[in-house]
């Protein structure tokens, strides 16, 4: 989230799409409700009338996988009616930038941007650039009239996204969608703000990132970024996903979003050079120019001070150029036998990964697997699951217990970037994860010490000062505070920075003090400031709200440097006066900023007398040019989002352009990678979703009788019309199938799903939750402590149905739009 | 001179009535305990409310069964056409010298018999409904409680009169319960037609 949960209450219009926040982020609705009490309008756009829709002022139904179309239609509506925030767009976005005349768009090139290579399924982005003068400064047209300027290109691109086209492709109601446009576009007025709450309903598509890009463009046009009650707000799918992403859950980044080294960057110097963005824009802060400070501090946190930075860099693992090590690829490789072992730590890939049969089969190719969890699950027991022959499976499975988050002290980073310190509520019955990793590293290190091995340095030189050590040098018990302090970072020698003297061993006050010479450490520069001389800022529980804007800056701590709303310098005009005077995030008092922690302390763009302030910097400090990107050349599919159908879709051709599906998505071609499009056998659009009562694959919640009682079963929701067509009655046992697999479910026949008319044809959609799995079903004789479990569930994983295809940028699987069939279960009444 | 005795009830009829009577008393006492919170103390007589209620349930079966037995034992007399009327009954209560031209049963007794039978039937049926309350459905079941209580009050009133008339009100009647006989004079006075025709 650019903003945070409490800030939702400051919105005038809340759009919830690609999310069922009321059900899956129930606490968020505390703030949505507060906003509505103050007169805010709630808009819900979803294939299904959800619990969120039930609270909305306007609900518009759309077919899964068509979000770019209706969002593109909104861009067109805003531009056609000139409802955008003109000053904001001119000052704080690249709308006035002139794009290379070689740049061509899908309207001209059969659905492709210029530079497409069909063999590599990749773009050459040479034409996706800005025109510059001799000094490299980008050419701009402040009037935004030049046909090559970003705003005009945007207008041209989305001129194809007419309302009729939107209705034809999405299957929505024209009136409802127009109401949505009208209401949301009203936040283009400077003193009004709108926010978007989205979740996996937008990300889990082959065009997931572009879905969000389209919305970001809308937010920039309407001047909603940096504003109270605005922003682009991703509702994370798990309470600490933000933390795990910040600390490098993903293969392509190191902690703090530092790009993973690649084999073609052999030295630290080259690595820093390649990863540090450059700009010739005079007023751009280009904060990422500090990259070498953060990378050096990270190396110091990893390996201490007993080697120079270049050596330490050489110890870091490196990706091959172009290597993708994301989830889908990992399991694809596992299936091919590329791995011998696998730690499944606090997860359940046999249910959570798309195309679960592929995942389950991949696990059978391993020599060993360690399943670390609170309960046995479909992953640890995959060898005795449906369709498996235990005798023929070689994988040796070890099951290790672990502690639940409530059983250990530490921090949780929520969607609003608040890093909240928690104490352990109860003693864990098993060792904590930290202690297990401690044990693991100790033994691995010992093996390397005793037996040597290939490339032992990264292991032997690992800095491991996470608690009091015994005489053998082994850490007795992991101290979370030691870890938190290392993440914040230390001064490793006496040093004077910005006129302040620090001693060796002092905690670094904030990332502005980090050094590129190896004199500081920081496990994650974004978290530098979380644990410093003031103490553990994450544990703060101050309840005061001096600004009245719900910032609660004394409650816990949030990154970066406790800034509650990022890009907040875009919330003011050239003179530092808030666009929305009644809900200021920050304001310039003539000498300094008041309110939230500003994005840098530079003065506003203009002085009080109207002259340009040479000391100023543009507000989007993390962007190389200081402004936000309406034209975004960074993504794989193109600088402007274009509609492509899901890999499996109900139409034979894309009604928007000649490319049916994402032209740059990565295709898998193994025996389990089956896809069928527009096939009579699978005529229904399927999607997956969650319910309030279960969490993820349900490993924790299916075992809790009170929750299993509430949602005991896999179900499939379908329209009354479809049920009639299929002869299915409410509560019937049915089978949901794709070309890949089939899953048992109970039919919920509801008026909350309605058939869509897409391209003149009736298209039905159904939805199924993904929380279930065979391990807790009665037919697999589920037992708790040796006696039959009181609340067995029904049905296996919905992800058996979903395809192995991912977003072209992130590789997140497309589990929100695929083609299925539903039939009454044979032999049942 | 010895009284001339006339046989009015067989041993089996007496036994039936005794059982009926005792069961009614038990039912009344255990029932009253749950009739109103002010009578709740009565459940103490039977060792607490649970025992009291259990006794009520099984005694109810006995009472319900004897209701039928007694009715059929006396069915002929109850259904026999008499010459007396309701007015005669009321008059005979108030005027000692008046004797209605009653047969084996006078009009009042027949009225009582019908009510005892019908009331016993209702009490039994509604009682069973209350014992097994989830059979009939909510709406109907709610009326069962009302009917059981309404007929309880009705029966109590009738039994009160019955008891009085059979003891203090009409001396000489009680011996029917003891020996099954009445005096010739009693028979002639109270049931002249029966006395004339059958005795």
């Amino acid at each position: 989230m650019t903003n945070h949960w409490v800030d939702l209450r400051n919105s005038d219009v809340i759009l919830i799409a690609g999310s069922n926040a009321a059900e899956n982020h129930p606490i968020s609705f505390k703030w949505v409700t507060k906003a509505m009490e103050s007169g805010a309008k709630l808009l819900s756009v979803d294939p299904r009338f959800t619990r969120t829709s039930s609270k909305a002022d306007i609900y518009a139904a759309i077919r899964s996988g068509s979000d770019i179309v209706w969002l593109g239609g909104m861009v067109k509506y805003i531009l056609d009616n000139e409802l955008y925030h003109k000053d904001y767009v001119r000052l704080y976005t690249n709308a006035s930038y002139l794009v290379s005349p070689d740049f061509k768009m899908p309207g001209e090139l059969e659905g492709l941007f210029s530079g497409y290579d069909p063999k590599l399924r990749k773009y050459n982005k040479a034409s996706w650039t800005f025109q510059t003068d001799a000094d490299g400064v980008i050419l701009k047209d402040p009037t935004m009239k030049d046909p090559n300027c970003v705003l005009q290109l945007l207008k041209k691109h989305y001129s194809r996204y007419t309302l009729d086209k939107v209705v034809e492709i999405t299957g929505t109601s024209k009136e409802k969608m127009l109401e949505v446009y009208k209401t949301y576009a009203s936040t283009g007025q400077p003193n009004r703000t709108g926010t978007i709450m989205y979740a996996m309903g937008w990300t889990q598509h082959t065009v997931g990132v572009q879905n969000i890009r389209t919305m970001s463009i809308i937010q920039l046009l309407l001047g909603n970024i940096g504003m109270a009650g605005g922003g682009v707000n991703a509702l994370r799918g798990e309470s600490n996903v933000q933390g795990s992403t910040d600390h490098c859950l993903l293969f392509h980044i190191l902690p703090g979003y530092l790009g993973t080294p690649t084999a073609s960057l052999p030295t630290f110097e080259k690595y820093n050079e390649a990863r540090t963005p450059k700009t010739s824009e005079p007023y751009s802060a280009n904060w990422w120019s500090n990259f070498p400070k953060y990378s050096a501090s990270l190396l110091r946190a990893f390996y201490g001070t007993n080697a120079d930075l270049e050596t330490q860099y050489s110890w870091l693992p490196k990706l091959d150029d172009g290597q993708n090590a994301s989830w889908l690829v990992l399991f694809d490789e596992m299936l091919k036998g590329s791995f011998t072992g696998f730690f499944s730590w606090g997860q359940n890939p046999a249910c959570s990964g798309a195309n679960s049969n592929k995942t389950r089969r991949a696990l059978a190719q391993l020599d060993w697997m360690v399943n670390v969890n609170l309960f046995d699950n479909e992953t640890g027991s995959f060898w005795r699951g449906p369709g498996m022959d235990p005798a023929s499976i070689k994988t040796e499975v070890f099951f290790l217990p672990c502690a639940m988050s409530f059983e250990k002290e530490g921090s949780i980073s929520n969607s609003g970037r608040w890093v909240q310190w928690r104490y352990g509520a109860v003693e864990p019955p098993a060792p904590t994860d930290g202690d297990m990793i401690n044990e693991l590293q100790w033994r691995v290190r010992k093996l390397y010490q005793e037996q040597g091995g290939v490339f032992p340095e990264p292991i032997l030189n690992l800095s491991w000062n996470y608690g009091p050590k015994g005489p053998d040098g082994k850490v007795r018990h992991i101290d979370p505070h030691a870890i938190a302090k290392e993440i914040n970072g230390y001064f490793l020698e006496d040093k004077v920075v910005s006129g302040r003297a620090f001693k060796k061993g002092d905690l670094v006050p904030s990332f502005a003090f980090l050094q590129d010479d190896g004199s500081t450490s920081s496990g994650n520069w974004l978290y530098c400031n979380s644990y410093n001389a003031d103490g553990n800022n994450m544990a703060r529980r101050g309840k005061s709200d001096p600004t009245g804007m719900g910032l609660y800056s004394g409650w816990s701590w949030c990154w970066p440097v406790n800034r509650r709303i990022i890009y907040n310098r875009a919330s003011v005009d050239e003179y530092g006066k808030p666009w929305a005077a009644h809900k200021p995030v920050i304001y310039w008092n003539g000498l300094s900023w008041s309110g939230d922690v500003p994005d840098g302390g530079w003065p506003p763009l203009r002085k009080a007398d109207g002259t340009w302030n040479e000391a100023t910097k543009l507000p989007f400090i993390m962007k190389p040019h200081g402004v936000s990107s309406i034209f975004g050349p960074g993504l794989a599919e193109g600088p402007f989002p274009e509609h492509y159908e899901p890999l499996e879709c109900p139409v034979e051709r894309n009604l928007m352009n000649a490319q049916r599906t994402n032209p740059v998505s990565r295709l898998f071609t193994g025996e389990f990678d089956l896809f069928l499009n527009c096939d009579d056998r699978y005529p229904l659009v399927g999607t997956t979703y969650r319910v309030s009562e279960h969490w993820q694959t349900g490993v924790l919640t299916r075992w809790l009788p009170w929750l299993a009682e509430l949602q005991p079963s896999n179900f499939v929701e379908m329209s009354v019309e479809l049920a009639e067509e299929k002869g299915i009655k409410n509560g019937d046992e049915v089978v949901v199938s794709t070309v890949r697999a089939s899953v048992d479910a109970i039919a919920i026949v509801t008026r909350r799903f309605k058939p869509f008319i897409v391209g003149g044809n009736t298209v039905h959609q159904v939805g199924i939750p993904w929380h279930f799995g065979w391990a807790t079903t009665a037919e697999h004789d589920v037992k708790a402590n040796g006696i039959p479990y009181s609340n067995p569930t029904y049905g296996d994983a919905a992800n058996l149905l979903t395809p192995s295809i991912g977003d072209a940028n992130t590789m997140i699987p497309e589990s929100k739009a695929f083609m299925v069939n539903v039939e009454k279960k044979q032999g049942r009444g | 001179m010895a009284e001339i005795l006339v046989k009015r009830a067989s041993p089996i009829q007496r036994l039936s009535h005794w059982i009926h009577m005792v069961s009614f008393i038990i039912l009344a006492l255990t029932g009253l305990g749950l009739y109103a919170r002010s009578f709740f103390g009565l459940t103490g007589l039977f060792g607490g409310v649970d025992m009291s209620r259990t006794i009520h349930h099984y005694t109810g079966i006995v009472f319900f069964a004897t209701t039928f037995i007694i009715f059929f034992q006396w069915a002929q007399a109850i259904t026999a056409r008499g010459e007396d009327s309701l007015v005669d009954v009321v008059r005979s209560y108030l005027d000692h010298d008046f004797h209605a031209p009653a047969g084996k049963l006078n009009f009042g007794q027949k009225m009582f018999a019908w009510f005892a039978f019908f009331g016993g039937l209702v009490m039994g049926l509604t009682g069973f409904a209350m014992w097994f309350p989830f059979v009939l459905g909510r709406g109907l079941q709610q009326w069962m409680y009302f009917l059981h209580n309404a007929f309880f009050v009705g029966l109590m009133l009738f039994i009160l009169v019955h008891l009085y008339l059979g003891t203090f009100g009409n001396p000489g009647s009680w011996r029917i319960m003891v020996s099954g006989t009445v005096t010739k004079a009693w028979a002639k006075a109270h049931h002249p037609k029966w006395d004339a025709e059958e005795v």
Partner: protein
């Protein structure tokens, strides 16, 4: 009475059912082994181990779909049908907060309350599988034990959106007028004066509530009319008999008549 109430603003309820779980947790109630019955609702009904349940109700009017969430639970009536029906002194009581509570120590399992409730709430159980008591009636207690400690009920405490809200009953007029401005109906059980008050957007029936809640007619006739009347009649009957004996006297054949003669 300085009563409290639970205000249920159904427009804020998202059907998350945290209240159902919180209720079970606080009251140590076991889970029901359920199956999906073609609805998100579960367990299927209130029970000895289920004191409250969210009702999911899809309503389509003039082509506009609405999804209402109601709650089936004890309404803690000031004129409580269960208390009326209960024959055991002290088995169902109302405390100063307005909580109508069944005392399972005293409950005899007669089930009168089960059928006396206008909202079909108390549930009878005669199994002792989990030690809740054999042959007893069960229902929501308004967490009177929490109230005694100065806490609010578990359900209102846990509600994330403030749809369930614990407040002073005295605030009802104020709440009612602001609800009216929002176009909401106040449902407070009419003459029953429930201490659980709903704010409704639709009709009561669309939330599983009776449109005109009242003590069931038979229960009213039985407990309010019949009971005192019956006692009066029985007492009158006794006095009547005594009066007859005193003023009219017994009809002694041997003495009063003489016609029978002395033999």
């Amino acid at each position: 009475m300085a009563g409290k109430m639970i205000l249920i603003d159904t427009t804020k309820c998202t059907g998350c059912r945290a209240c159902q779980v919180a209720c079970k947790q606080w009251n140590s109630l076991s889970a029901v082994a359920t199956r999906n019955l073609g609805t998100h609702e579960n367990p299927p009904d209130l029970a000895y181990n289920t004191y409250t349940k969210i009702i999911f109700s899809e309503v389509e009017k003039n082509g506009e779909l609405a999804w209402y969430f109601g709650q089936h639970r004890c309404m803690h009536c000031e004129d409580a049908g269960c208390m009326k029906a209960c024959p055991v002194p002290g088995a169902i009581t109302r405390d100063a907060n307005g909580a109508v509570v069944i005392n399972q120590e005293l409950c005899t399992g007669c089930k009168y309350c089960v059928f006396g409730c206008p909202f079909n709430v108390p549930r009878y159980d005669n199994k002792n599988a989990e030690g809740y008591g054999v042959d007893k009636a069960f229902k929501c207690t308004l967490c009177f034990d929490r109230l005694a400690m100065g806490e609010q009920p578990a359900c209102t405490k846990t509600c994330p959106t403030g749809a369930l809200f614990f407040t002073e009953k005295a605030k009802l007029p104020e709440i009612a007028s602001s609800a009216a401005q929002r176009g909401l109906k106040v449902y407070d059980g009419g003459s029953l004066k429930t201490n659980v008050v709903f704010l409704l957007k639709g009709e009561p029936e669309e939330y599983g509530l009776p449109a005109k809640p009242a003590i069931p007619t038979p229960t009213f006739l039985w407990r309010t009319i019949m009971k005192p009347l019956g006692i009066a009649a029985m007492v009158a009957g006794i006095f009547g008999v005594i009066a007859h004996y005193s003023y009219v006297g017994p009809k002694d054949i041997e003495e009063g008549d003489g016609k029978g003669g002395k033999h």
